[in-house]
Assembly symmetry: C2
Homo-oligomer: 477 residues x 2
């Protein structure tokens, strides 16, 4: 166990927690199920937020803020919704020293408080669409928590949109699914499958739940984001109607969609290694660390001055750090920045000055290069782009190498245990066969794909009835 990090091959779960501790990202708090997101972890969330927020705004959405509290009577108005969330609620019963007349639920998600508000905002087709997103904390009481992946309180964004037609609402649902896919691929360097959930895996209150699913290094699936088409369910529960262009009263169509601090868990589990965190460059709070390396102290001032000269003009263009602390040796510093996942390390020693070069080391591969001091910033920027692309490609190769078509149920049951992976199997569509997967293999149907690629005739792997598409099955987080 080098550097306090358990090897992935030994204990993947322990490795995950060790990486979080080594990179100083988060820790459990004194409050059951709640975590403290430390500055290094929060900086990742800030970068995720900034990018997603830009993408939401580019697609016409605005931010707003709705109350943390939901009157108990509101959350009970949509039958499936309360059925799904009821076991997970935290409830305020006292306020200002007095027992409340009506208990207040801490939002586990905000459909009910938001649709009770939209009822006031929407009268006519001219009030539609409403395209609102909220950055907020939510609480879902969890018995077994895991840093970033499952916590009682977590941070997320939740979009809640209102539309005049079913078609427009479904288009919105799919537009956001595509935003999530692009964000996963282009920023998290995470190849994802997209598709729709089975009825059993739907959001409580949705007509359809769309999702992105990524493969972690232990070959399990992680759901990175969901986009729900809610139909008229919440409009009916809160009596939200509008007068259309012909003067007819109609219910409003809804969507909701969210990603959370869970994405940080996905980032860690997809890319990190036995030396610690590996961050995709586009999300890295610090992209480069520059370390002077001296034999004796007399060289240190000269090296520091050279680094200052070499990094002139970098500020504002790239986020970098110079680690010129006198009290630590280079090896200690290398280890520290490696654990924290900084994509590129630059080293400069007296020999390098003689040779007009800099040592450039990739965090993702460990590759060491000697590069000219001329045009250093451009070399660094090019390498960051290369690392980002290589990280995506490696994850894609890994996923594809561990994704199989499988037509025999016994073989599937064995192979999902060893070697594990993603399995495309035929399924007849019946809940009974879906339950068989889950009970016999601890795997679930992650999604039904939307495109043509897996459309083919076959027989359900469980019951043999006809099937017209393969579905994705895997164990999951």
């Amino acid at each position: 166990m080098a550097k306090g990090i358990t090897k992935r091959s030994e204990d993947y779960s322990k490795w995950y927690l060790d990486v979080i501790a080594a990179a100083d990202l988060a820790e459990h708090s004194a409050v059951r199920g709640c975590m403290v997101i430390k500055p290094n972890g929060y900086a990742l969330w800030e970068n995720i937020q900034r990018q997603l927020d830009n993408m939401f705004k580019e697609t016409g959405h605005e931010n707003a803020y709705f109350p943390l509290f939901i009157p108990e009577s509101f959350i009970k108005k949509e039958a499936q919704h309360i059925k799904g969330f009821s076991p997970e609620l935290a409830v305020v019963t006292y306020g200002g020293g007095k027992q409340l007349e009506e208990p207040l639920v801490i939002r586990p998600t905000s459909e009910t408080i938001i649709w009770s508000t939209y009822a006031k905002w929407i009268q006519s087709y001219r009030d539609l669409p409403i395209l609102i997103n909220q950055w907020a904390n939510v609480v879902r009481w969890e018995m077994r928590t895991r840093l970033f992946l499952r916590t009682a309180e977590f941070l997320w964004q939740e979009g809640h949109t209102a539309h005049a037609t079913e078609q427009e609402a479904i288009e919105e649902t799919l537009l956001i699914l595509d935003v999530y896919r692009r964000f996963a691929e282009e920023y998290l360097a995470a190849p994802v499958f997209t598709g729709v959930k089975t009825a059993a895996e739907r959001f409580a209150g949705a007509i359809d739940t769309y999702c992105i699913e990524a493969m972690m290094q232990d070959k399990k699936a992680l759901q990175g984001g969901t986009s729900h088409y809610l139909g008229e369910n919440f409009a009916r529960a809160f009596d939200v109607t509008f007068q259309d262009e012909n003067g007819e009263n109609k219910y409003v169509f809804a969507t909701s969609w969210g990603v959370s601090t869970r994405l940080i868990g996905a980032l860690i589990m997809m890319h990190s290694d036995d030396n610690g965190l590996v961050i995709p460059p586009r999300l890295a709070p610090t992209k480069v660390v520059f370390i002077p390396i001296w034999r004796d102290d007399s060289q240190s001032d000269m090296l520091k001055a050279k680094i200052t000269a070499l990094t002139e003009g970098w500020k504002g263009r790239i986020s970098f750090k110079v680690d010129d602390r006198d009290q630590y040796r280079p090896g200690y510093k290398f280890n520290e920045w490696e654990k924290k996942g900084v994509p590129i390390r630059l080293e400069l020693g007296p020999k390098d000055i003689e040779n007009n070069q800099v040592v450039m080391v990739r965090r993702d591969t460990g590759e060491k290069m000697f590069v000219s001091q001329e045009g250093l910033l451009e070399r660094v920027e090019n390498l960051l782009a290369t690392i980002q692309q290589d990280m995506f490609n490696r994850a894609l190769v890994f996923r594809d190498a561990n994704t199989y078509d499988e037509d025999n149920f016994e073989a599937f049951r064995n192979r999902i245990e060893d070697p594990g992976g993603f399995f495309w199997v035929h399924w007849c569509g019946s809940p009974a066969c879906e339950t068989r997967f889950q009970d016999s293999s601890k795997a679930t149907i992650r999604l039904i794909p939307m495109g043509e690629s897996k459309k083919e005739d076959g027989s359900c792997i469980v019951c043999g009835q006809p099937s017209h598409t393969r579905v994705l099955v895997a164990k999951s987080y």
Copy 2:
């Protein structure tokens, strides 16, 4: 009552709420004491956040996130703290369907949960300082709420820093006070007085509370932000000690500081007028609106095309909107953007095209200018800077014209009712005389100034005992 907005001179409170409604900033929610911050209001908060966040980071602070919940036993650990916050707490007693063994308080502020965490992080002087800020929601049960100014749940930032020495902690407290002052002056266009609160007005658990105070248009004071020097109070309550360079164990010194969505209330009350909201340009989500004005529809395409040509290259440099909606008349549009506080309106009609000009109208003064189409963006940018400065200057002139030295208690009692304003008076420092102000005039001591400007010998306006500085007294929000 033009445009649905009550005149300031008729009913200032009603005017404030009317401006919020006219600009579509926020509304009361179905949950007692909680507001919905609508997209126009939230966009102001995002701009405030972005700027303050930059200033915090420039002064060495990082963001983190701590739990929403505080175990009841934690919040009781600091005696003054619980005494102050106890009447305002919201308490969770049920989670996941079960009664909790220990109730959880929704954070009214996070000193206790954070210092219980710092206890784990701090062992040595090498772990100090800790300079952390958090953007979060907090809950303080309020009986009489008022949009933005006083709500049960509100959004804020809270900084919590830990230091090895008293001097360093006091320097931090004052550094942040200066950040708040600069933000108020340079972004909110709000001249502020800075100083320290009396013991009666201190934050519960603080040694000293520093504040910024601004004058609203009704001549009342609004406290815009506070920065607290907490001494060793929270370190003692949570037993947070560190080993100093000589191996001695010492308690850690603390500060905390915050501003909230209340700043939006201040922005509204300082600058807006009987036509609606007026936003300082540096915080305006939309800085310019461009409106084509046609007599008959045949002209509309030509005008729209000309506006597209005139605003070429503006995107990314300035946030602007073109209001080319066919279904509304120019007068309706002028009114709408005026209510919403957009700093500059540009108009373009067929006559303007002939004359190679654009009509440019200032929101703050209503002044109308005919300017050349050449270099339009630069003219707009210059005018935005002028408006920002002029808004500050007008607020300063107004405040200074309504701020008086007063040495006679009876005169003070009369003048604070009519004409009202800020009064610099001599005060002996006794709580008894402080209570007299409050009881007889509904005014409070807003601050004791820190600089030399009000240091002079005199006699307490209440009891006649010696005083060495004037203090600022006013009615307040």
